[in-house]
């Protein structure tokens, strides 16, 4: 009797499920960091400043890159190899633009006297927090760009197509996650002076 029954199938691909769990862990990392920001700000001796406008462009760039990623993923689902290549290339370029925009943002802050290390200016730990949070996020973006490049190469090796979308689907999930993570961080940092 029992041998006739099918073995229970996994309800979701275990790799994809593991990725979701990893993203949950990353979310906790940033929850911890932004909570630390709020706790330290609550102690007083805190210099409030406006975010450099370039960070808004960062946000627009990262949202656009999500759109190009969707384009690449949809192309994969309909077996349009050229579409995948264009979509991924555009996402990689936008991702790199995001990195550059972040760097410009930090230089702008530095020009205003807001550095990562601010000896003797205790209230400017606010800038240290901003740069630390953005930098830790940037590491995740850089990991995402490496992931995208691997996908791009795999497309040329015909490893991504209609019947094999798992890799690009995971990359898609990861990229949207780190993108929207930045949107959250931007909103958080933008409104933080009003807390």
């Amino acid at each position: 009797m029992t041998t006739q029954l099918q073995e229970r199938k996994a309800t979701v691909n275990p790799k994809k499920f593991s990725l979701w769990l990893l993203l949950l862990g990353i979310l906790m990392l940033f929850s911890g960091l932004t909570s630390a920001y709020i706790v330290r700000k609550g102690d007083g001796n805190w210099f409030d400043f406006e975010l450099p406008p370039i960070f808004m462009y960062s946000t627009i760039i990262v949202l656009l890159s999500s759109l190009t990623m969707i384009w690449a993923y949809r192309a994969a689902k309909r077996d349009d190899i050229t579409g995948i290549k264009i979509g991924l290339a555009a996402t990689i370029i936008l991702g790199t633009a995001f990195v550059i925009s972040q760097y410009i943002g930090w230089v702008t802050l530095s020009d205003q006297g807001l550095h990562f290390v601010n000896p003797k200016y205790g209230d400017r730990v606010s800038a240290s927090f901003l740069i630390a949070i953005a930098a830790i996020h940037l590491v995740h973006i850089l990991a995402g760009i490496v992931y995208l490049i691997v996908m791009f190469i795999n497309t040329f090796r015909f490893k991504i197509h209609k019947k094999n979308t798992l890799q690009i689907s995971m990359c898609n999930t990861y990229w949207h996650f780190v993108g929207f993570l930045w949107v959250y961080l931007y909103m958080f940092l933008y409104f933080a002076p009003d807390f």
Partner: protein, 626 residues
């Protein structure tokens, strides 16, 4: 194609390296975790005996200490004061993270999750292997700090800044601290890799009929432990990164207004050392439950098997585990009552802390109710499981003392705290781990451990543990501070002198008992009596695997589950146990849809890879049908 055929094709001939070293078989990885955990445990315990000698005999010279630690750290046979602190720090770190987190969860999650849920291996055997290797690497990095010139980290296992943030603060803040942080980062990676795997395995790889409500309590406990680790370790990682920035780049997240000896006033300003405590204890308190929950799960299983009774209140046990897991995230402030926190906030943490007593008490009463009028078999594992219940009660009660902010302000940093957490977290969890080793040794090695030696081990360990830690409560009530190297210059504590001697002698007795255990463990691997497939007459699926331990666990089909794990002494059956894979006559039709229907259903609506989280949750919650 049947799964067994697929399985046979999938696994190639194994070499020594692939079988014992770079193994991806969860059973071998569990043994690797266990053996590494035992080695770390021996080192951690040896350290504790060294500093207990110092506490009992502060003026006596012990040539063995000089021989062992060298003349730098133990000149004239007496421990150096700085090295005493280093030993305490390393003892705490090793025991909390390396023995009771990785050694306990790593061993039993790896062994039991696939076996008890009916899976051939973990969701990702490769990640599982990586998890062990990161753990081993982390252990080696941590132990290597014992050999650096300035000594290992010595600011306590909680690594509070500024001692941890300023490399020049004291000798142990230098290279030793850097190695400590490196080791913990590696440990967090190992823990996350393992945890993600455990969660994924439990949720996605259960066999037919194994609904969440039929899971053995060990699986529930290990699963919730993994969830706790996944949610709390990243926060420590965040806190640790900010600490590294302070150490390496000169930022001031945790540092402010410090005057450091010859260096004068430092430029760091604006940081808050209390902020680190918040981030640390947001991990630190769930960590306590990461340690104790697997031990509680193991105890639930062992007490039910050896009382020959169903576990009392299965649902209550699961809900209380969930309650403990949830509450553990909102009580971290009770470690920080004396940091000058807002009394209102302190009151909130006080209330949440005391509420944890409710699910803990539910578990305790359920253990007692399971034992009540049971047909108890006092196996070695059962003795240790009952020992856990004893420690959980006595340590839990003192937790209620410390959870009260008003009492904690008096008792904080006294031996009362040391006594409390050693009993409730140290002894209880170690007893759970030892119970698990005695119980599942036959599953691991196919042989039985020596029973009389097990009893000697139990009684010596049980008595010595109480002798060491119980008097600490009275010392704490009298105000004796913890972390002191010697009390010789403080005559008011002279009254405790003899007590310290008794405690140290008891600690040595406990150490000797562990030598008996080690002999029993390692000799039984080779000369123990053969165990057979189900030596304890237990119900769970791990006892359905053949004696020969094969990669893939079951030679044929994976067993189907027809009942919960606790059908003991059910009057409907002849035997006093009924294994989970044995069907009742004529009930298959009610329990399972026929395969045909299932195939038709799925063929109408093919499942895509993009399953939404919502669908997943819906699938987990719906009644289990095949």
């Amino acid at each position: 194609m049947s799964s067994s055929v697929a399985h046979a094709e999938h696994h190639h001939k194994e070499t020594f390296l692939s079988k014992y070293v770079f193994s991806m078989d969860h059973k071998m990885i569990s043994k690797q975790f266990l053996i590494t955990g035992i080695i770390m445990g021996v080192i951690g315990m040896a350290m504790s005996i060294a500093f207990r000698l110092q506490l009992a005999y502060p003026d006596t010279s012990f040539p063995i200490l000089e021989w062992f630690f060298g003349s730098k750290w133990a000149p004239d046979g007496k421990l150096d004061a700085g090295y005493y602190m280093a030993l305490v720090t390393m003892h705490g770190t090793i025991m909390v993270f390396y023995v009771l987190t990785a050694g306990l969860s790593g061993t039993f999650a790896n062994l039991l999750l696939p076996l008890q849920i009916g899976a051939r291996d973990m969701a990702s055997p490769f990640m599982n292997m990586l998890s062990y290797w990161f753990f081993l690497l982390s252990s080696i990095v941590l132990l290597s700090s014992l050999f650096v010139e300035t000594g290992p980290a010595s600011g306590g296992w909680t690594i509070y800044p500024p001692l941890s943030a300023l490399p020049k603060a004291m000798p142990g803040s230098g290279m030793g601290m850097t190695l400590w942080l490196t080791a913990i980062v590696l440990f967090i990676v190992s823990s996350l890799l393992g945890g993600i795997n455990y969660i994924s395995t439990v949720l996605n790889m259960r066999t037919k009929g194994m609904s969440m409500t039929r899971l053995p309590l060990t699986v529930w406990a290990l699963f919730l432990t993994a969830v706790l680790g996944l949610l709390s370790f990243p926060v420590l990682l965040g806190g640790g990164l900010l600490l590294l920035f302070d150490r390496g780049f000169g930022t001031s997240f945790y540092l402010s207004d410090i005057y450091l000896g010859s260096a004068g006033a430092l430029e760091h300003t604006g940081g808050s050392p209390i902020l680190f405590q918040h981030l640390f204890w947001f991990l630190g308190h769930p960590e306590v439950y990461i340690i104790i929950m697997p031990a509680l799960g193991i105890t639930s299983e062992i007490i039910a098997v050896n009382s020959r009774k169903p576990i009392f209140g299965y649902t209550a046990m699961v809900i209380s585990l969930m309650g403990i897991a949830f509450l553990s995230f909102i009580v971290w402030g009770h470690h920080m009552f004396i940091t000058g926190m807002n009394p209102l906030l302190g009151a909130v943490f006080l209330v949440t802390t005391l509420i944890i007593a409710v699910p803990s008490a539910v578990k305790t009463f359920n253990y007692l109710a399971t034992l009540w009028r049971g047909n108890i078999r006092f196996t070695n594992a059962m003795m240790f499981a009952i020992g856990l219940v004893s420690f959980f009660i006595s340590g839990g009660l003192t937790g209620i003392f410390l959870g009260n902010a008003t009492l904690d302000i008096q008792l904080h940093d006294t031996y009362f705290v040391v006594g409390h957490f050693h009993i409730v977290m140290g002894c209880a969890a170690i007893f759970g781990m030892l119970a698990g080793i005695y119980h599942w040794f036959p599953k691991m090695f196919g042989r039985m451990m020596n029973k009389p030696l097990g009893y000697i081990h139990f009684w010596f360990t049980f008595i010595s543990a109480y002798l060491v830690f119980f008097p600490m409560h009275f010392m704490g009530l009298a105000g004796v501070p913890r972390r002191y190297y010697a009390f010789t210059l403080l005559p008011e504590y002279g009254v405790w002198f003899d007590v310290n001697v008794v405690m140290t002698l008891a600690a040595i007795l406990g150490g000797i008992a562990q030598i008996i255990f080690l002999y029993n463990f390692f000799s039984s691997i080779f000369i123990g009596k053969r165990s057979g497939t189900n030596p304890w007459q237990a119900n769970t699926l791990e006892w359905t695997t053949p004696e020969e331990r094969i990669h893939g666990n079951w030679p044929g089909e994976i067993p189907t589950v027809y009942r919960w794990a606790y059908d003991y002494s059910n009057p409907a059956y002849e035997e006093d146990f009924m294994m989970q894979n044995v069907p009742d006559e004529g009930v298959e039709e009610e329990l399972f849809e026929t395969p045909k229907t299932k195939i038709n259903k799925t063929s109408k609506k093919p499942k895509t890879e993009a399953v939404t989280l919502f669908t997943l949750i819906k699938n987990w919650l719906k009644p289990n049908t095949i």
